[in-house]
């Protein structure tokens, strides 16, 4: 008989491709008569391609998507196959309720998360060592580190680096802890912060630079903007920049270009005394979703389940898509000691907060591209001193609300 063919599309790097192909081979071995056609590529152009396919109705049976794309591709939950219809094939109990909830749109389960990621602090402990400073463990230490760090390592050295977006998130973490509210309401299209909190956000952001704790915006821009990841920055490679505030998933790549004198470590999440919230910003990394047009929904679901929750697959896939969200997969890796120490440390830090319920799920709208541009614009103006703090706060309120209403 004709073999049943499933198409599976993902993006990634070399290691991910290799391991995924191996997993596919394993699945095919286990299911004679099934062929998985692997369609894989780098991340560049992935969204364009997927968009074309979604528009043309030619998308693959199974695909890897970003969590935030759900809002575009499946605004009302009808963009993808409702996995709720394939419960028999899926070990949904492997996933936390929260994980399932964040993948649900309009009551329909649109996909299953591969892993969860959150912003953490990465420090180059060697740099701090050279500067004669301890790695910051509190906000105050961070703000205080700016001057001595620069004095010790030179005027191009800063304790923490981040692009505009990283820095506004960092400042938001502070304000979140202080006021207990994120900027955008988790479920409603409106600004959740109070006017005072907004002003604090803006002020904290500015303080990062006035205190010399973070790389100034113009200088950072002069080195190439947002699309030039930190690991490609010479200042990072040679340890002039002491740390960064970033997703735990990129830990490996941040590490990959450091020269031999540097040492990367995961630091404690800076927390205000009496914080009302962890302030941590986390969300699922990628999801696997199934096309609503697939001719083999059950088989696709089975394959999806295999990738996420099969012990054998877990071993083959390892950490290529981050620490797995599925409980059994995590256990397999943990037991097989396949989790490197740094990753594990970051994971534990995040998991602890999640389990404590101290990470609020961000609004999907917060990651909407247009909304991101809006935020970048305001905070870029701030970074260039082109807008007063009060004006910025007011725009964050008024324009933010208007935009949220528009993108719904």
């Amino acid at each position: 008989a004709e073999p049943v063919t499933l198409r599976f599309l993902w993006w990634g790097g070399g290691d991910r491709h290799k391991r995924t192909l191996a997993a596919i081979a394993a699945f095919e071995a286990r299911n004679p008569g099934v062929r998985i056609r692997a369609e894989y590529m780098g991340s560049v152009g992935y969204l364009e391609k997927l968009t074309m396919q979604m528009v043309g109705g030619t998308e693959p049976d199974l695909m890897q998507i970003n969590w935030a794309w759900l809002n575009m591709f499946s605004r009302h939950g009808n963009g993808f196959l409702d996995l709720g219809t394939q419960r028999e094939a899926l070990a949904l109990d492997e996933f936390s309720d929260e994980d399932l909830r964040i993948c649900t749109v309009g009551g329909k389960l649109n996909g299953l998360p591969v892993s969860y990621t959150a912003r953490i602090f990465l420090w180059n402990s060697a740099s701090f060592g050279r500067a004669g400073l301890p790695v910051p463990t509190t906000w105050d230490e961070l703000f205080a580190a700016g001057e001595p760090f620069g004095r010790a390592l030179g005027e191009r050295a800063y304790p923490i680096d981040g692009e505009i977006y990283d820095m506004l998130l960092l400042a938001q973490a502070y304000v979140f802890q202080q006021h207990g509210s994120p900027y955008v309401h988790p479920s409603e299209p409106r600004v959740a912060m109070s006017a005072a909190a907004l002003l604090d956000w803006v002020k904290t952001y500015k303080r990062l630079f006035t205190s010399r704790a973070a790389t100034p915006v113009p200088y950072r821009a002069s080195l190439g903007g947002a699309e030039k990841p930190l690991e490609q920055q010479p200042d990072w490679v040679v340890g002039r920049w002491g740390g960064t505030y970033t997703w735990d998933t990129v830990l490996r790549s941040r590490l990959s270009t450091l020269d031999a004198q540097q040492k990367l470590d995961v630091g404690p999440f800076l927390t205000l005394p009496g914080a009302k919230n962890s302030g941590m910003f986390g969300r699922p990394t990628a999801l696997f979703a199934i096309s609503k047009r697939t001719r083999h929904p059950a088989l696709a679901a089975r394959f999806l389940n295999f990738l996420l929750a099969d012990p054998g697959a877990a071993r083959l896939l390892g950490l290529t898509r981050g620490v797995p969200s599925a409980a059994s997969a995590y256990r397999v890796l943990d037991e097989a000691r396949l989790l490197p120490a740094l990753e594990l440390k970051a994971y534990r830090q995040i998991a602890a907060q999640r389990e404590a319920g101290r990470i609020d799920l961000p609004s999907m709208r917060f990651e909407d591209a247009r909304f991101r541009r809006f935020l970048r614009e305001i905070f870029e103006l701030l970074g260039y001193d082109r807008i007063s703090e009060s004006d910025a706060a007011r725009r964050l309120m008024d324009d933010g609300n208007a935009l949220l209403a528009r993108i719904k």
């Binding site: 991910r16 780098g42 010479p234 490996r252």
Partner: protein
């Protein structure tokens, strides 16, 4: 200034990740072709041999049909008088001017209707209909600069319109045609968006897609092998340019008739 990027690229293919991003110089601290071997093998099921072959499967037919169709059409525009010539000429120039990005989705839907997705046809067939209007326009301009004396002689010699084109115009246009070939080669080799959108099967990927295939957003990248293979990917283009250049600087009419 002109060579620096190439030198840097070649140098970088021997460097460690840290060196690549911190050193502005191009001299690596060690020489090791491991990166090339690794890059060539790729992390996919296929080696670059496949991707190069795929690229040529697109490039070669495309060049052939481009040259034929563009020369024909340019010849008509530059020499022949027919109703609607002016109008069609402006249509041609006009089609160059609309941002292509906006045509992307309609085109995709069209080729989907034709059932051409995941194949090379969408990348080749339009060129057979002189839709690379850049080249048509270019050839027209060249042709309009060439005096008609030789053509008159050929007409008397009994050339029919096609023979005239083949035996007189094409040789005189050689420099321009060679540049069309060079451009089409290099541009098609470098084209990323076209193959990205129309090709799904990895075994059909051309080099341009394969090059970026290992650039995940979050994973660590072995820059040396990524760069090494992009150096290798440049070789055909550079070779074609090198081979072709003596033709576009030695036109048939280059020194004309002296006496």
């Amino acid at each position: 200034m002109m060579l620096y990027p190439i030198l840097w690229l070649v140098g970088a293919s021997f460097k460690s990740n840290a060196e690549i991003f911190s050193e502005i110089g191009f001299w690596p601290s060690r020489f090791d072709i491991a990166a090339y071997v690794k890059g060539w093998k790729t992390s996919s099921e296929y080696t670059f041999a496949t991707y190069f072959l795929n690229s040529f499967l697109i490039v070669v037919p495309r060049i052939v049909v481009t040259v034929i169709s563009c020369v024909l059409v340019a010849y008509a525009f530059a020499r022949w008088e027919f109703p609607g010539r002016k109008f069609l000429f402006s249509v041609m120039v006009t089609t160059i001017m609309l941002p292509h990005i906006i045509l992307r989705i309609p085109q995709y839907l069209m080729f989907k209707e034709f059932g051409w997705l995941d194949g090379y046809l969408p990348l080749i067939v339009p060129s057979a209909f002189a839709t690379d209007t850049f080249f048509v326009f270019m050839l027209v301009q060249f042709l309009r600069a060439i005096p008609r004396d030789m053509e008159e002689a050929a007409i008397i010699d009994g050339c029919n319109p096609l023979q005239l084109l083949l035996y007189v115009i094409v040789p005189l246009l050689k420099p321009a045609i060679v540049s069309v070939i060079v451009f089409q080669f290099i541009w098609t080799m470098n084209d990323f968006m076209g193959p990205l959108i129309y090709l799904s099967s990895v075994e059909k990927y051309p080099v341009s897609l394969a090059l970026k295939m290992t650039m995940g957003a979050t994973e660590e990248v072995e820059w040396a092998s990524a760069i090494a293979i992009s150096v290798v990917a440049l070789i055909p283009s550079v070779a074609v340019f090198f081979a072709a250049q003596k033709h576009f600087i030695e036109g048939a009419t280059s020194s004309g008739i002296k006496g």
